[in-house]
């Protein structure tokens, strides 16, 4: 397998990296393949039992895909290798084993709140902090964002940016605790708190997982970034992170692609760019950079197909454009590529006045 990486200088450099390594990878650049092969190599060459490697992914689906790929390389999950989301890492590696010891002030026998219970807690918090006839669920989104974005509760920033949201978050968490509950957003936040307050815990994670892999770094948010900064750049865990600043599709959940960019610019990190796009034709790769408005130096490998780009200039209002899209452009595209269904197509539409968003079909 490793021999396949040799033909691609970026992949090969990442495969041979010996310190912290950040892989900036465009779409279709073989980043997951690079990550899995490197992980298998480190597990056999760099980490001896009983120590292991932790690999953090964005969601459970990514975790499953990684598990399958590693399985094909003979690496079985469980035991020495942790593969999971930042939530499951926080919960199983930090909160559950050390809930009492790390001073997290969690009630005995706590569990994870259902959606219904979260709404209940929010309702109670809303009544306490804001009151009135508003719908507390309307605030759910901005409260979550506020909670994920400002980690330091003792800071001026937390208190003053939006005092009402700050108070709402605090009340909401109190309500959860009063019912022996934590929610998903709590998990990375509690992990950050536990690690920050307990030097020995950082060392314990280093003992278990001297190497930390992070996939889709751009989507993982501030809490994970804070965990990585502590564990990797002060405790001594070796980092291998993969991501794409341009691919962050989860901005609305508190992802900050700039964190990855800052990490990549550090001097104690070897940053590798995977330039070759194996998924798309050369013309599409080229066009993508125009669409980004930035030159990322992405290339299709030599001998790749050109790919075809269809331009449909269309003036008019949103409704007219949408109508044209569904009546003409899409049916034509679907007949060109047999087997593709509506569910496989994404439409990206630029709306200048608000946020750019994908419209799932």
């Amino acid at each position: 397998m490793a021999a396949e990486l040799r033909r691609n200088p970026g992949q090969w450099a990442a495969y041979n990296s010996t310190g912290h390594c950040i892989v900036l990878a465009g779409p279709g650049s073989g980043k997951t393949k690079t990550l899995t092969i490197k992980l298998a190599r480190m597990l056999s060459e760099d980490v001896d039992a009983p120590r292991g490697i932790a690999c953090i992914t964005y969601n459970n689906e990514c975790a499953r895909e990684l598990e399958q790929r590693l399985d094909a390389l003979g690496v079985e999950p469980g035991g020495r290798v942790f593969i999971g989301t930042v939530h499951s890492f926080s919960l199983t590696q930090i909160i559950l084993p050390y809930a009492k010891l790390a001073g997290l002030d969690l009630p005995d026998g706590f569990r994870v709140a259902t959606l219904h219970e979260q709404r209940g807690a929010l309702q109670l918090a809303f009544e306490r902090v804001i009151g009135g006839s508003g719908n507390p669920n309307d605030l759910s989104f901005s409260m979550g964002n506020y909670r994920r974005s400002i980690l330091n509760r003792d800071s001026e920033q937390w208190r003053t940016t939006n005092p009402q949201l700050a108070a709402l978050v605090e009340a909401y968490e109190e309500e959860l605790r009063a019912h022996n509950l934590i929610d998903f957003d709590d998990m990375p936040l509690l992990a950050v708190k536990a690690l920050k307050n307990n030097q020995w815990l950082q060392r314990a994670i280093l003992a278990k997982y001297p190497i930390l892999f992070v996939d889709e770094y751009q989507d993982l948010g501030r809490a994970l970034h804070s965990i990585v900064m502590g564990l990797c750049f002060s405790t001594g865990i070796r980092l291998f992170a993969v991501g794409d600043v341009d691919q962050s599709i989860y901005g609305f959940t508190g992802a900050h692609p700039d964190l990855l960019q800052r990490l990549a610019e550090r001097e104690d990190v070897e940053t590798v760019k995977l330039r070759f796009n194996y998924r798309c034709g050369s013309r599409i790769v080229e066009a993508a950079q125009y669409a980004l408005g930035e030159d990322r130096d992405y290339q299709a490998p030599e001998g790749a197909e050109e790919g075809t780009i269809f331009f449909h200039p269309r003036a008019g209002a949103y409704e007219q454009q949408a109508n044209h899209l569904f009546s003409t452009v899409l049916p034509a595209a679907l007949t060109r590529i047999p087997g593709v269904l509506f569910g496989d197509v994404a439409v990206i539409y630029c709306v200048f006045r608000s946020i750019a968003t994908g419209i799932p079909i």
Partner: protein
């Protein structure tokens, strides 16, 4: 890494025991937690494993074995294995627990062994189970007491030689093995060229075939060893006397020693190959079949190698359970755990690690605990005396007053001088009952030496037992009334005479025997003159001259001769009291 079970601190532990206080129990308990060779069926204990003092185990009775570990953060492998098992309120302590208890779903009292279950968990939450994953990296190896070293060495599967040989042969070229195998085959066929041998082999074969019938015929023949190259290494034997004889011809002692060396090598190999992170090696009664000199040299070496290790701290702890003063005498002072039977609460452990000793005191004691004095660790009670004279006389006196010391398990230990302090501290710490017989030693000027000596000892005993010296005790120590002081000192087991032993004896009806014994000195006319004079006028005895004669004969020799002579004469009161003080406590 340190295991603080019963507050053991140093990496090697010698455990002197009186009989029947549960030395095997302690090891069995540790095995429940750490021994990977123990099957789960053995971890499922039985009703008979509950304490005898318990009439019938009820729903609340459990057997719990807990081990606490500290200093586990240095080695990353050990930290990775143990970190989840920290205590809820103390990140520096890890606890591993084995629990045998009535099944959770049981209603009412347990009646049969099927009503019980066992769990092994870490920290304070049962959800944190541990099992083989931990045990195969932090492991306990037990060499049992009555091991059949010869038998084990002869049996390939059990031999400690097997892993070593297999490892050595792993990288040997198969083709070269093939050559050896062919050479053996050639030698074997040469053997059967002798007519006598061939006919013997044939008759074995024929007889076997007749008895077994053709289906069961295993086709026996004679040869040196099976010639399959893969099995070749299994026929390698450990030879002694430069290859003349096999190990089964060696003495029991040598076989045991060989066994131990092989085991130690195997452990080293496992550690080097990173297949183990920590090993507890428990050797039961290591003195078995070993000559006293060998006991000392073998285990001194073992202790030293454990303590030093090649790269810093060695990942090996040794537990020895022993009755041998020879082994106790070479054990590091701080690594002794004493198990003692108590009347109502089973066996109690006292560790030397928790006794507060200054460095000079520790050095004194280490030097002091030679073979004869290490006996003190195995005693039920100890009488500390100043020198050889008391050491010879006290047992005789004890017999006279009907308290035979050997029978009671009391040892008389001489501190060779008057520095009782470290020994008294040591015995107090270990909870061994003791008394001290010491001289009053009056001086021309100033307070008698015995007065301040006893005062300091009382202070120390108070500090050790209560942590402070009360004003009342302080006043009693400073009491200028010597008689009252002496009575007070007796409460602490300190018994004083009026002068020194010999003088007190002379004045206490032992005069005639002392005169007789002094005559054996065959002194010149002047000194003989003194003896004559003291015989006719005992009151004229000159203490300084008397002691100079005793010294000339030698205090020890004088006491031995005197002891042989004095018969059933009742000893001076302070000696009787010192004997009774300890005898009443054991």
């Amino acid at each position: 890494m340190s295991v603080y079970h019963k507050r053991l601190e140093s990496p090697s532990h010698a455990e002197p025991k009186q009989n029947r206080v549960g030395k095997s129990n302690l090891l069995s308990a540790l095995r429940l937690i750490f021994d990977p060779t123990l099957p789960d069926s053995a971890r499922q204990l039985g009703l008979s494993d509950f304490w005898d003092g318990l009439e019938e185990p009820s729903a609340d009775d459990k057997i719990i074995v807990s081990i606490e570990v500290q200093e586990f953060e240095e080695d990353m492998d050990i930290l990775a294995l143990l970190t989840d098992y920290r205590l809820d309120n103390d990140p520096q302590t890890v606890r591993l627990t084995y629990e045998f208890r009535p099944r959770a779903d049981l209603v009412g009292n347990p009646t049969t062994e099927d009503d019980y279950e066992f769990v092994c968990y870490g920290g304070e939450s049962e959800a944190k189970r541990f099992g083989h994953e931990l045990r195969r990296r932090i492991t306990m190896d037990v060499l049992p007491a009555l091991r059949d070293a010869e038998g084990d060495l002869a049996n390939w599967r059990r031999s400690p030689l097997r892993p070593l040989i297999e490892n050595a042969f792993r990288d040997v070229d198969r083709e070269e093995l093939q050559e050896i195998s062919e050479a053996i085959e050639a030698a074997t066929s040469k053997i059967s060229e002798f007519d006598e041998v061939r006919s013997l082999a044939e008759s074995i074969g024929e007889l076997f075939a007749e008895m077994s019938g053709p289906k069961q015929d295993i086709k026996p023949c004679l040869g040196f060893s099976p010639t399959d190259p893969a099995r070749l290494c299994r026929n390698i034997r450990l030879l002694i006397d430069e290859g003349l004889r096999g190990i089964n011809d060696a003495s029991l002692g040598s076989a045991n020693l060989v066994f131990l060396s092989l085991k130690a090598l195997e452990l080293r190999q496992l550690i080097v190959e990173n297949r183990r992170d920590y090993t507890f090696l428990a050797i039961e009664e290591p003195e078995a079949h070993l000559h006293p000199h060998l006991q000392r040299s073998v285990y001194r070496h073992l202790f030293e190698s454990v303590q030093e290790g090649e790269e810093g701290e060695s990942p090996l702890s040794v537990f020895l359970t022993t009755h041998s003063p020879h082994i106790a005498s070479v054990a590091p002072l701080r690594s002794i755990l004493l198990l003692r039977d108590t009347p109502n609460s089973g066996t109690k452990g006292c560790s030397t690690a928790s006794i507060e000793l200054t460095e000079p005191e520790e050095d004194d004691l280490s030097r002091y605990l030679d073979v004869t004095r290490a006996e003190m660790l195995f005693a039920r009670g100890v009488i500390l005396v100043e020198g050889d004279a008391e050491r010879f006389l006290v047992p005789t006196f004890a017999k006279t007053i009907g308290k035979p010391l050997d029978f009671l398990g009391i040892s008389v230990c001489s501190v060779a001088g008057t520095n009782f302090h470290p020994y008294a501290k040591f015995l107090t710490g270990l909870g061994i009952p003791f008394s001290i017989i010491t001289d009053w030693d009056p001086r021309q000027k100033g307070a008698p030496l015995g007065y301040s000596r006893a005062g300091k000892l009382i202070r120390m005993i108070e500090m050790s037992q209560k942590g402070a010296v009360s004003a009342k005790v302080d006043a009693a120590i400073k009491n200028p009334d010597y008689d009252e002081f002496c009575v007070f000192a007796e409460e602490y087991g300190i018994f004083l005479n009026d002068y020194t032993l010999e003088v007190d004896l002379f004045k206490d009806e032992f005069g005639p025997f002392i005169i007789e014994t002094l005559r054996e000195g065959e002194f010149g006319p002047i000194r003989n003159g003194w003896i004559e004079e003291w015989e006719s006028e005992p009151d004229t005895v000159d203490i300084t001259k008397l002691l100079s004669l005793v010294d000339a004969i030698g205090k020890g020799r004088f006491a031995q001769r005197l002891a042989a002579r004095m018969g059933e004469l009742v000893p001076p009161a302070y000696i009787s009291q010192a004997i009774n003080f300890v005898a009443d406590l054991v």
